[in-house]
Amino acid sequence: MASDMQTGGRLATAAPAAIELRGISKSFGPVQANRDIHLRVERGTIHGIIGENGAGKSTLMSILYGFYKPDSGEVLVNGRPLTITDSQTAIRAGIGMVFQHFKLVQNFTVLENIILGAEEGRLLRPSLSKARGVLKRLAQEYELNVDPDTRIEDLSVGHQQRVEILKALYRQADILILDEPTGVLTPAEADHLFRILEGLRAEGKTIILITHKLREIMEITDTVSVMRRGEMVASVRTGETSPEELAELMVGRKVLLNVQKAPARPAQPVLEIRNLRMVDDAGVERLRGIDLDIRAGEILGIAGVSGNGQTQLLEILGGYPPKGSTVSGEVRVNGGPLPLAGAACNAAERRRQGLGHIPEDRQAEGLIMDFAAWENVAFGYHDAPEYGRGPLMDRDAIRRDAEGKIARFDVRPPSCDLAARDFSGGNQQKIVVAREIERNPDLLLIGQPTRGVDIGAIEFIHKRIVELRDAGKAILLVSVELDEIMSLSDRIAVMFDGRIMGERLPNEATTGDLGLLMAGVDPATAPPDTMPPAHEHVEDLPREA
């Protein structure tokens, strides 16, 4: 079937393509990341690339951008063969790339990041003032507003991405590659991004978009390619395919795109939060009196634009409030009070009290990237009695446990000894999810469970979360993916500026309604004409802490 598509669906036009790749192969040591890849992208189109984690998408694009050197193969830009030796050649050929993991200097200003490598002369001042002007123009043209003098570390992820896009546009990119741009964006931000991309396409620019979200592919792309295990398995017109077909091409089997779950049967309250407040080290009140209840056997989803206190809420509940912060209020789990400060307020203690936690940032918090998978399975539970008696750990016990978890959660490759860093993002997430869910916590805190994870893995993770709920556990789910919130939650609370703006039931909530709440507007009280469109409001929101 795949090969059918490849020959039958191969797109051919007379005009020179913006990009043509011929027989690109690349291996990293023993790993063959790309094998004999052919790809054609027409000028003035948006081309989607999908594929499972580790399929080789990022590698292929990095080769096009001159970041990696291919082992063999040929790159043609606008019909002319081009030897791309480094990123400079790619930039000169009009290629710009927004990497999956941004390549920004955190403590530089936006302006400094923009001109880095594209300076006008030996001195900075002229470059900076020119860039300031260009930036202003670009901002107007594409609605890409960012304060040029803010440091990157003070920007939200969405704004950081804008900077990356501006970097490419500043270098007058004709061909723009975006590697999983929406993984870190709110729906409003994503919509905004897509409008920008459409604008760029209208100008005749070519865009390559890597994403795991089929909805986005269907919405915006003209053509789409599917990669699997380093090979290009299909290239088709978007109009001529369906999400189901793409998903199947990608994973090699049928995928359920929607979560199937029975109605919740909530029982006794597990988590009770009363008037929870937090003031951070700078004296800013980040949580302004949160009241929440979660019962056994239900999933409470918290929707909201990132940076509205969700992170802080999870960290406080998880037992590690941000450094220098003061927390007040009352939190009870299973009726017992949860210490919010002092020595008893730590993550290890929380775990003993029956809490599990899937953190928002798996790479910085949830995993030790240099530890082997089996060690990561014990991470956080290394004090558990079944992992050994006394001060020593029982490696065999842990490994046995880890092997079981890795098998049950279909972590690939199923190797206990591989370091976490050597797994793809989706599989890293599976390790974390396996560790936390299989502990059967009474209350599971979940932050962004499927960020950057491919659809096969998303399906799997969602299924496990629902299973835990059905086992009568309470779940607090924080996600910026509205789709995810809507399909998983039994109740939805929307957070804005450190407060709960409102609660909805998923069957009665609409995207628009939630979007307004996320923007800090209560539709029940606000007059209709004052409702701002969600995405514009986003810019004034508090930044990511």
């Binding site: 990293f28 040591g29 951008y65 001159g66 970041f67 990696y68 480094d86 990123s87 400079q88 050649t89 790619a90 930039i91 790339m97 990497f99 390549k103 920004l104 200097v105 955190q106 403590n107 530089f108 400094e112 990041n113 001109i115 880095l116 490598g117 594209a118 300076e119 002369g121 030996r122 001195l123 900075l124 001042r125 470059s127």
Partner: protein, 350 residues
């Protein structure tokens, strides 16, 4: 404590801080580019040795200075090859460089001069004369006697009296300050102090500086911008070598007159401490090294501090700069955040 004492202490502090400042700035360039450098000590030592050796053999301190720069550059090259090209451990490389300099200087010195690792005194005298004569004879043949004598007559740096130093002296406070503290140092002291604003300017006002800082924070950002990480880092390491070269040359030909084994006496490590203290900033480097210089000058001046009841023994006065450093760091300087990519070789494909 009268004004004169204060001035003399300040004057001493300026001299003592100069090698620290140069080494500290050297470390700053290197570490700002993401290459840790605990080999400052070794590079200084090598520079001191090569500067003194060539100055002794030619009677010309400027040739000595060049040799000092070269000597330090050579070790920088080793550091660069190890830690940039071959992505080796930067700390190990630094340790190795310190050992290498410590051994090679004495070994070569003994081979060349037979004075047990010492170079001849760089002051006119029989000892120096014996070394310079072959070069001078050769020069005389090549360029004539006058030129030869002139070229071989400055074996060490001498102090520069700044304009109006004497005529301004009567001005209260400022006059003596200018004449005593500011004027009268060797050229390298002024170079060192000028390096501070210059470094600041390079770092924050030039393209090179922007890229240098970027490569120390996130080399991938520089790489994806099409700029070579390797070249930038090598440039930074080379600059570090040159500055260490100045520092070492100053020790051997400015502050003292010749090389003695191990004469850096731990100054490279103090400079490293100052760099962290300075939070990797040029003006901070000035402040931190001044503080170290000042503390040492004070301890020199008051070897046995008599506090009435007890006399603080000299051992403790000697340790005082270190104790105070710890206290100041603990009390007043917050967490110093090193350049984010520091110490890590840039690996893009594994």
């Amino acid at each position: 404590m009268d004004l004169n004492t204060v001035l003399q202490i300040l004057d001493s502090a300026v001299r003592l801080m100069t090698p620290l400042l140069l080494a500290c700035l050297a470390g700053l360039y290197s570490e700002r580019a993401g290459v840790f450098d605990i080999g400052l000590e070794g590079k200084m030592l090598m520079a001191a040795f090569s500067a003194a050796t060539v100055a002794a053999l030619t009677g010309n301190v400027w040739l000595g200075l060049c040799a000092g720069l070269l000597g330090a550059l050579m070790l920088s090259a080793i550091h660069g090859i190890a830690s940039i090209t071959f992505r080796g451990n930067q700390l190990i490389s630094g340790v190795a460089i310190n050992f290498l300099a410590s051994g090679l200087t004495v070994l070569l010195g003994q081979k060349i001069f037979g004075l047990g690792g010492r170079t001849p005194n760089l002051t006119p005298g029989a000892e120096l004369e014996a070394q310079v004569t072959p070069f001078r004879t050769w020069l005389t043949d090549v360029a004539g006697a006058d030129l030869a004598t002139w070229l071989t007559a400055t074996p060490r740096l001498s102090g520069i009296t700044l304009p109006f130093a004497e005529s301004l002296r009567p001005v209260p406070v400022l006059g003596p300050l200018y004449a005593e503290v500011v004027s009268g140092h060797t050229i390298l002291v002024y170079v060192a102090f000028l390096m501070v604003p210059l470094t600041w300017w390079i770092l924050y006002r030039t393209r090179f500086g922007l890229r240098l800082r970027a490569v120390g924070e996130n080399p991938a950002s520089v790489d994806t911008a099409g700029v070579s990480v390797t070249r930038l880092r090598f440039a930074a390491v080379a600059i570090a070598g040159l500055l260490c070269g100045l520092a070492g040359a100053y020790l051997a030909t400015g502050l003292s007159a010749g090389f003695v084994k191990e004469m850096t006496a731990g100054r490279g490590f103090i400079a490293l401490a100052a760099l962290i203290f300075a939070k990797w900033r040029p003006w901070g480097a000035l402040g931190a090294t001044f503080l170290f210089g000042l503390l040492e000058a004070i301890a020199n001046r008051y070897p046995n501090l008599d506090l009435g009841i007890v006399t603080v023994p000299s051992m403790f006065m000697n340790a005082l700069p270190y104790i105070l450093t710890v206290i100041i760091l603990a009390g007043f300087v917050g967490r110093a955040i090193p350049p984010r990519a520091g110490g890590e070789p840039y690996v893009k494909e594994r």
